[in-house]
């Protein structure tokens, strides 16, 4: 049985419109749950994540973050709690250590020890040394590095855009399971975008399907 806290919405959207890309009449995303946003390419999934990260603002309508409209929240404060990972991982100059720490540095948070960093690399299955140059990593390795970077920040809400798109099937299963476990342990809300319905069904408790910028279905997924 779920606690009442679990049913509180972390994000509520009302009459949200963005260009001709997205129109959401009403949507509530539950706190501390894993929610998948599925849909075809160009359906507006990434736009929705960017709206939640306040990277863009809607033309009309209101998005609430825990009852407060996003306009009333400082964007930078919000993004330090609600962290987004883009589909194509951004690798900054420097080595793996620098890339792991950069999110914490941007957010002005305390920096962890090398042991903790190595531990995080293990969680995402990245067998690399901290002083290796990050630019030489393969696409899949860069994606795992970007995931580890977000995990180190321990955000309240994770916004993951196709988090496993560059991983092969076996690595995808292993990494996704570890991310979900890690998020659950930290009491985080995970919202991830995927074009893969089997992946959504495997990891998400709630599945929101978007088609041509509008929500066509919201399903509870009791797979456990």
């Amino acid at each position: 049985m779920e606690s009442p806290d679990n049913e509180k919405p972390v994000f509520t959207l009302k009459e949200v419109k963005f260009n001709d890309i997205l129109y959401i009449k009403e949507l509530a995303i539950t706190e501390k749950k894993t929610t998948a946003i599925v849909g075809k390419s160009g359906s507006g999934k990434t736009t929705l994540l960017k709206l939640l990260n306040k990277l863009i603002s809607p033309d009309s309508g209101t998005i609430y973050y825990r009852d407060t409209p996003l306009e009333a929240i400082d964007s930078i404060t919000l993004r330090r709690e609600v962290v987004m990972m883009p589909q194509t991982p951004v690798i900054f100059e420097g080595d793996i250590r620098e890339n792991l720490l950069i999110g914490l540095k941007f957010s002005e948070k305390e920096l962890p020890s090398d042991d903790r960093l190595m531990n995080m690399l293990q969680v995402v299955g990245l067998d690399k040394k901290l002083d290796e140059p990050a630019h030489q990593l393969s696409g899949g390795e860069k994606q795992r590095l970007a995931l580890a970077r977000v995990m180190l920040m321990e955000p309240s809400v994770w916004l993951l855009d196709e988090p496993s798109s560059a991983l092969d099937k076996d690595t995808e299963d292993e990494v996704m399971q570890k991310i979900m476990d890690f998020g659950k342990r930290n009491g985080s809300t995970i919202i991830f975008v995927t074009h893969s319905i089997p992946m959504a069904e495997k990891y998400a408790e709630e599945i929101i399907e978007i088609e041509n910028g509008e929500i066509v279905s919201i399903k509870q997924n009791h797979h456990e």
């Binding site: 883009p86 941007f106 977000v150």
Partner: protein, 269 residues
């Protein structure tokens, strides 16, 4: 050679210099490089500009006037600002133009004042003989520097959009998210001055120093002036570009720390 030992260039000698350009034009034409027009136009324009500048300088040296000097300085600044707008590859919006104008105006004025009052000496600061050439060198070099900086900043804000947004997603402020780009724009602006300093005295003798030596000044005095002016140029370029980049990056973000689209920033009036 005149009384002071300076070799004056006679008219026929100057004509010989033009003849050299005519030889160049013939070669360019034979080789099929269609650049005759620009070579002729730039030679004529340079000649006219320098003749006018020469007469203005003679007038100013003979009739020193503080207000005329200020007017000339403002004209130089205005020309430099306008020329900077033209050198940028994309149309600029009003906000960026304003930032360019006050960065160039502010950076060069402060550097010029420091140079004239402290380095050259307070008694001669408004002597046109010092004021005009030094102002010209500082403004000219700062104009080149800021033009390079603007182009680099605008280019990078477009091409490195994903990286900037990636930093914002991780909670970076616009200032932190664009720090690398701002630093690279600064590097691009200052690099020609640095390169010129590194080659000076080994690869080439700088124009001002050559001019002084040709006009009979001792090389030791010429060197002192050249060192001082190069440091002044370095300071002026750096100061101008620092003012610019530390204000200009903000134009690319809105109040919600969102990275604006290119059409919303650079070209939107």
């Amino acid at each position: 050679m005149n009384k002071s030992g300076i070799v004056d260039i006679e008219l026929w000698q100057l004509m010989a210099a033009y003849a050299y350009v005519i030889v160049l034009l013939v070669i360019v034409r034979i080789m099929g490089i269609k650049r005759e027009k620009i070579i002729v136009m730039s030679s004529i324009r340079m000649t006219l500009q320098l003749i006018i500048a020469g007469y203005i300088l003679i007038y100013l040296f003979n009739h020193p006037s503080f207000w005329f000097l200020i007017l000339l300085f403002l004209l130089m600044e205005g020309f430099a600002i306008n020329n900077t707008f033209k050198r940028v590859k994309v149309p600029l919006n009003r906000e960026l133009k304003k930032i360019i104008a006050y960065s160039l105006g502010g950076g060069t004025t402060i550097s010029l004042m420091y140079f004239l009052l402290v380095v050259i000496g307070s008694n001669t600061w408004n002597d046109p003989r010092y004021f005009i050439p030094i102002a010209g060198m500082l403004i000219g070099n700062s104009m080149t520097g800021i033009s390079l900086g603007i182009n680099r900043l605008i280019d990078s804000m477009r091409t490195e959009r994903d990286r900037i947004e990636g930093a914002l997603m991780l909670g970076a402020t616009p200032k932190t998210a664009s720090k690398d780009i701002v630093n690279k724009a600064f590097d691009a602006s200052i690099l020609p001055t640095i390169n010129s300093m590194l080659g000076m005295g080994i690869v080439f003798l700088p124009g001002m120093m050559t001019g002084q030596i040709l006009s009979g000044t001792s090389p030791l005095i010429a060197i002192k002036y050249q060192i001082a002016i190069m440091l002044g140029i370095l300071g002026s370029v750096a100061f101008t570009v620092l003012i610019f980049v530390h204000r200009a990056y903000k134009v690319f973000f809105n109040k919600d720390a969102q990275l604006l689209l290119p059409e919303e920033t650079v070209t939107k009036e």
